[in-house]
């Protein structure tokens, strides 16, 4: 107990220096918390966007080796109707883990309104699934500003009219039909989708403009089109699909469900691979974005930790210089080197705990203020603004606090080490306290 009392009182010997060091630790902690809050929110938003808005599901079933090859040889890598039936049987066994599933097809072609045409990259969705993904609670919680409210509100229209297409504002301008589409009569809303069937023949289907969406990515806005699965299958003259997405009740079960699926697929002898949304190939945007954010965050974390380390080492070293004689006296009266380590470490620990507490309160306040300010920004490469939101998590806070304490401990050891090895006589004969 005495050592804690001594440590606490030693902090008051130079209040200004203790305050400065405390501020450095506290500010560093605030920085770490805010970075983690941004990263946490970004990760959850990217996850919700990737899984639900980008229709990847938590897991996706593909024909073997087809993730990249499907675009060039769709007929070879399509999941046939027969294979779909086998998969459906397998998925029934995993009902307890699965919230819902969706079948998807993608492809290219031209959208034509009789006067203008422009290329499209279509995602074909099952209307009920589309409605479900857009209205999912994860989307509402983490990415409400990444999707137009009208897209969500009208998501069920595909169910009513499977011939509808959803296009972006950019594409609408390209074909000369700026939204809202309700201002056009039925004839004016009619458009055609033109493409090549999987047999290589030219084909076209009639469709109707009705819905608007955004991809969130500037590069994709000119070509993105969402259409019902039956429409695109009719265009490509197929009953096959490109992949089958699985949406789990609990995302933490991904690995287990993936393993079970792979096992059952192997038993059924179907040539299918299972990919999680965070796979490098399947979830490249998610992995890449998160990786980029992580690298940037690490850079700042290293900077912050470096500043904290230097601050603690500096303060502790100064304190040691001033207390050489006192340290010598303690050693002379029988205090072993580890007791000296302990004394300084406890001093820095008390200071850190106070600084961390203040830092935590400060960070929470800043996060609340930022969230209340409703700041919007447009990240590079995205379409439209997104809200800048910070979300703290207690486990992350505790982990970061532990890291700061660990850094503090190591810094103290670095500063004190030399003194504990110093000759007691030299310590006693030093000037100062």
């Amino acid at each position: 107990m005495w050592s804690w009392i001594l440590a606490y009182r030693n902090l008051g010997r130079n209040k200004r220096r203790s305050l400065a060091t405390g501020l450095a630790i506290g500010a560093g902690f605030v920085g770490l918390l805010l970075i983690s809050a941004y990263l946490y929110r970004a990760q959850l938003a990217l996850q919700a966007s990737t899984v639900y808005l980008n229709n990847k599901g938590h897991l996706a079933l593909f024909k073997k080796d087809s993730i990249f090859e499907f675009t060039y040889r769709p007929s070879r890598y399509i999941i046939t109707l027969d294979e779909q039936n086998k998969i459906a049987e397998i998925l029934k066994d995993l009902d307890a883990d699965i919230e819902f599933t969706g079948r998807y097809l993608t492809g290219t072609g031209l959208i034509n309104n009789q006067t203008k045409s422009t290329p499209f990259i279509a995602t074909a969705v099952e209307p009920e699934v589309y409605n479900r993904t857009l209205n999912h609670s994860e989307v509402n919680t983490w990415t409400p500003d990444w999707v137009f409210p009208e897209t969500v509100a009208h998501a069920g229209k595909f169910i009513e009219n499977p011939k509808l297409v959803s296009i972006t504002e950019s594409m609408a301008i390209l074909i000369g039909k700026e939204p809202p589409f309700s201002k056009y009569n039925e004839d004016e809303r009619n458009i055609q989708l033109i493409g090549k069937t999987f047999y290589g023949d030219l084909n076209a289907v009639d469709s109707e403009l009705g819905l608007r969406h955004t991809t969130g990515m500037a590069l994709a806005e000119d070509t993105s089109l969402v259409v019902s699965l039956s429409q695109l299958q009719a265009l490509y003259a197929t009953d096959g699909i490109q992949y089958w997405a699985i949406f789990l009740k609990d995302a933490s079960n991904i690995k287990r469900v993936q393993k079970e699926l792979q096992k059952k697929i192997k038993e059924k002898n179907i040539n299918i691979d299972v990919y999680p949304y965070y796979d490098d190939e399947w979830g490249a945007y998610y992995v890449g974005s998160l990786g980029f954010l992580f690298v940037i965050a690490c850079f700042f974390v290293v900077l912050i930790c470096g500043a904290v380390v230097l601050s603690v080492v500096n303060t502790t070293t100064l304190g040691i210089f001033e207390r050489h004689k006192e340290i010598g006296t303690l050693r002379a009266t029988g205090f072993p080197p580890r007791a000296i380590y302990s004394l300084f470490w406890k001093e820095n620990l008390i200071l850190s705990l106070i600084a961390l507490s203040a830092g935590y309160i400060c960070a929470e306040w800043i996060a609340s203020a930022v969230n209340a300010a409703n700041i919007k920004f447009q990240p590079p490469g995205t379409q439209g603004d997104i809200r800048f939101v910070l979300i703290t998590k207690i486990q992350i806070t505790l982990a970061l606090g532990f890291i700061v304490l660990l850094i503090n401990f190591i810094s103290t050891m670095i500063a004190v080490r030399r003194t504990t090895k110093a000759n007691i006589v030299n310590l006693l004969s030093a000037s100062g306290g």
Binding site: Q114, N190, Q192, G200, D201, L202, N203, V205
Partner: protein, 240 residues
């Protein structure tokens, strides 16, 4: 000097005329004749180890063409209409026809523009590049440059027999002047034009210049001159 200049201009003009004449003559054997023509078409394709076949009925008159798919069953009822240099695609499930490009791939190595009649003299600017002797037969090698960018090919190197005035070989060139497809023609058919029997194309073999195993053979069957009603070429008649 003036005389020399006049002589040169005359020579080139003569050569240009000769090139155009050659082209016009060869066009007759590829459908640019009379008041109307019809024939049956089959296209057999071998591409990346996979074989496929298409069948069409073709009716042409002047710059218009009406092409109806007759096989395989999945394509039956599909119609391609050529109005001058505009192309349309239609099938019964569509409310309206769709504007398409002559350059788009129809099947295998054949583009949409390959299945109608060929009127290169109307669509291309010809010049004689050189003459060549192949199997003891003299050929004029013409360079054809497209007059508009809506045509099937930008440039064609065209071998026309000096004797028969029939085009026997074509190299279809990209903008850089490199051949990407090679066509070989045969004329075992004949049609009546103004009472006279003239040769008519029986086969056009188109080979991928980079991957010679990818081939499409267009076979022309039962060509005959007939009066063709202009209403079938009216795109508006196709709408539901």
């Amino acid at each position: 000097m003036k005389t020399l200049l006049l002589f040169l201009i005359a020579t080139f003009t003569l050569r240009a005329e000769t090139a155009l004449d050659l082209l016009k003559e060869s066009d007759r054997a590829r459908g640019a004749v009379g008041d109307g023509l019809s024939w049956n078409l089959t296209i057999d394709t071998e591409e990346d180890g996979e074989a496929s076949a298409r069948e069409f009925d073709v009716k042409v008159k002047d710059a218009d063409a009406y092409v109806e798919a007759t096989g395989p069953a999945r394509n039956k009822g599909e119609v391609y209409i050529f109005n001058d240099r505009n192309m349309w695609f239609y099938k019964p499930t569509l409310k309206k026809p769709v504007a398409i490009s002559a350059r788009q791939k129809l099947t295998g190595q054949a583009a949409n523009g390959d299945i109608a009649s060929t009127n290169y003299s109307r669509d291309y600017e010809p010049t004689i590049e050189k003459t060549e002797e192949i199997n003891k037969e003299k050929f004029f090698v013409l360079m054809l440059k497209a007059k508009t960018n809506t045509l099937t090919y930008d440039k064609i190197r065209y071998w026309i027999s000096a004797k028969t005035k029939l085009a026997m070989k074509a190299e279809f060139l990209n903008l850089q002047g490199k051949a990407f497809k090679i066509g070989e023609l045969s004329y075992k058919n004949s049609v009546k034009d103004e009472g006279k029997s003239i040769p008519f194309v029986s086969e056009l073999k188109i080979t991928d210049a980079k991957f010679p195993k990818n081939v499409s053979i267009i076979r022309y069957k039962n060509p005959k001159a007939e009066k063709v009603s202009t209403s079938i070429f009216n795109v508006n008649n196709l709408s539901r």
